[in-house]
Symmetry: C2
Subunit: 361 residues, 2 copies
């Protein structure tokens, strides 16, 4: 029977080889050309009859076909990806923003690359290069810019090259580079926080500031000085202590201020610092807000659950992220050139602030 097996050649059914199913397979099975299959599956505007259309879809479903986006990207020059650079994803501020970006991107079937720069210039440059190499359709910088000259020049060169390639850049923080951005008012909002404390009666207000090289540090602490100036209070340099934008940074800065000029209120550059300050003050035996008031900035989710519920400035972080994504897509569609949508912030008064203690004006 099956003796002369050698001769038989079933050319047609030969080698599906358990390989990944490609458009070619779908086309073959559906009895159409690859072009037609592509047009059906990729939502092209080229007309294809309903019958053919159904046939192709059926086969694609049956075969579990998943178009290779790498190939598609190569052909269309659109990768359907966005690169996001944050300082640290595990920092709630950034994590919440990323969440918003992700939601916005997901709606358009875009995927998000997320990377942390750790405020390291070299790492940031490397990330920029990597994203360029991956041909992301947009780069979103939510990490604040660094005020370092040669770093700035390099970033600008890289971003320019990236944009020349057709990429879109969106800024979500203070940055020297010129690009469309979505923002909120760091300076003005910090000023209103400080004014709020002044109105409560505080005169010796300390400020816990972030790393000096971050652009956002500059903006926020400018707000602190604005408010003091407007109230006619002379700024005392000793009332400002710096540290990293972290819990430990805040704790250390608070401790140093308390062992020195003894302010009646502390405004922190962000919630993390405020939370650290709070804990340290309590550990040192101070009452909050009885002896000293503490205020933060950002309103991360935990602000309300800190040692003492924190008075802070509410930035709608997730919404902010979503706005970022929206801006990206509007730019990709060529709808806008450089709008600057902003997001409103508001003071959230919780338990950590109150009037200054009686015994010391």
């Amino acid at each position: 029977m099956s003796a002369a097996s050698e001769g038989e050649k079933v050319t047609d059914e030969l080698a599906p080889a358990s390989q990944v199913t490609s458009l070619r397979d779908v086309a073959r099975d559906a009895g159409v050309s690859v072009s037609t299959a592509s047009r059906v599956l990729s939502g092209s505007s080229h007309p294809v009859s309903q019958g053919t259309r159904d046939k192709v879809h059926d086969v694609a479903d049956r075969l579990g076909f998943e178009p290779n986006r790498l190939a598609r990207a190569l052909a269309t020059a659109r990768s359907q990806t966005i690169g996001v650079i944050v300082h640290d994803v595990s920092d709630s501020y950034f994590a919440e923003i990323v969440r918003g970006l992700e939601d916005g991107a997901g709606l358009q079937d875009y995927a998000l690359f997320v990377a942390s720069s750790d405020r390291d210039p070299d790492k940031e440059l490397a990330l920029l290069r990597a994203f360029t190499s991956h041909r992301v359709d947009a780069i979103v910088l939510v990490a604040s810019g660094l005020d370092l000259d040669d770093y700035r020049a390099k970033v600008e060169a890289l971003l320019a090259r990236y944009e020349a390639l057709g990429g879109v850049v969106v800024l979500m923080s203070e940055h020297s580079y010129e690009a469309p951005r979505v923002f909120y008012d760091n300076r003005g909002t910090t000023a209103s926080m400080v004014k709020y404390l002044i109105d409560l009666g505080h005169r010796r207000i300390g400020y816990l500031t972030g790393p000096p090289e971050l652009s956002v540090t500059t903006a926020r602490s400018a707000g602190y000085h604005d408010a003091l100036a407007r109230a006619g209070i002379e700024a005392d340099p000793d009332l400002v202590a710096g540290g990293r934008f972290s819990i430990e940074g805040g704790a250390a800065a608070a401790a140093s201020l308390m062992s020195g000029p003894r302010p009646t209120a502390l405004v922190a550059g962000n919630d993390l610092m405020a939370i650290g300050a709070l804990r340290r003050l309590l550990d040192l035996g101070y009452q909050v807000p009885g002896d000293v008031s503490v205020a933060g900035f950002d309103d991360i989710e935990f602000a309300a659950y800190a040692s003492v519920p924190l008075t802070t400035v509410r930035i709608p972080l997730t919404e902010f992220g979503r706005r970022g994504a929206d801006l990206v897509f509007r730019l990709l569609r060529g709808e806008v050139q450089s709008v600057v949508p902003s997001v409103e912030c508001e003071l959230v008064v919780r338990a950590s602030t109150g009037p200054p203690p009686r015994d010391r004006t």
Copy 2:
């Protein structure tokens, strides 16, 4: 002079067109073939003389050439990307793990796609499909599996298809799918937390459990029951209250338990729930740990800074993430088939737990 301009044809210098510079440009400028340029720039093992090598590198640098990874991926079937699915990036538990994954991936020049599934089966399936489509080299599931039958079947089908494509799957949570995973002991560790409270003298210990359909919920609450059984304490179903794995979920569950069976200690399914419970208990006028002790699980960064510093189980989240990345690469290199590296957890005792109140055994 330049009258008969039509005729002149400068074929050579015609249209650089300010386009993106490709390998072809580099090759042309360096006076070598595209293949040679590729070999130099992509670290191929094919021998190329040092002279040629230098020439190519020089030109590449001068032109600011960034290889198109999409094209490279298409040719090599390696995209140098990893897809990560978490429940929610803005949840510290996941954010810290993602950070570890990112660090590990970055070391190998891999980029990370991060997406949140929100515990929504459909969304999770869509993400799986999207990652497949983007041809990520690995998919890491850090979101816990859902115990829903037809969802499970679909996930398994999708993952199988993905693996058939050459992809690697790594699990970082309780999941029914069979794949290499890195884990920690949810059940045993919860049991030791509960035992710790029993040893402190507690007998009526409440448990704040997560959503029943999550595999991790099952594992952790099993640990709670193990410890009770071992101590010969009869489990009281009324001492278990469920809720979402969130601050609000914990607050609500705690409130319901206190208005009912009045436990002397509360063990939460995770830190978020514990933080919510803590706040609510304080608001209701209870002393923690005077009236009731509270314990969490995970040791997210904020655990130490909650309303009362939280006793909890420390999972080295960032390290855990890094292990996940390591496993991915070992699998990609074909070094291992299915190891199950684990990470050690330890009890961290802070201020939120103590002996039960005197007046009630």
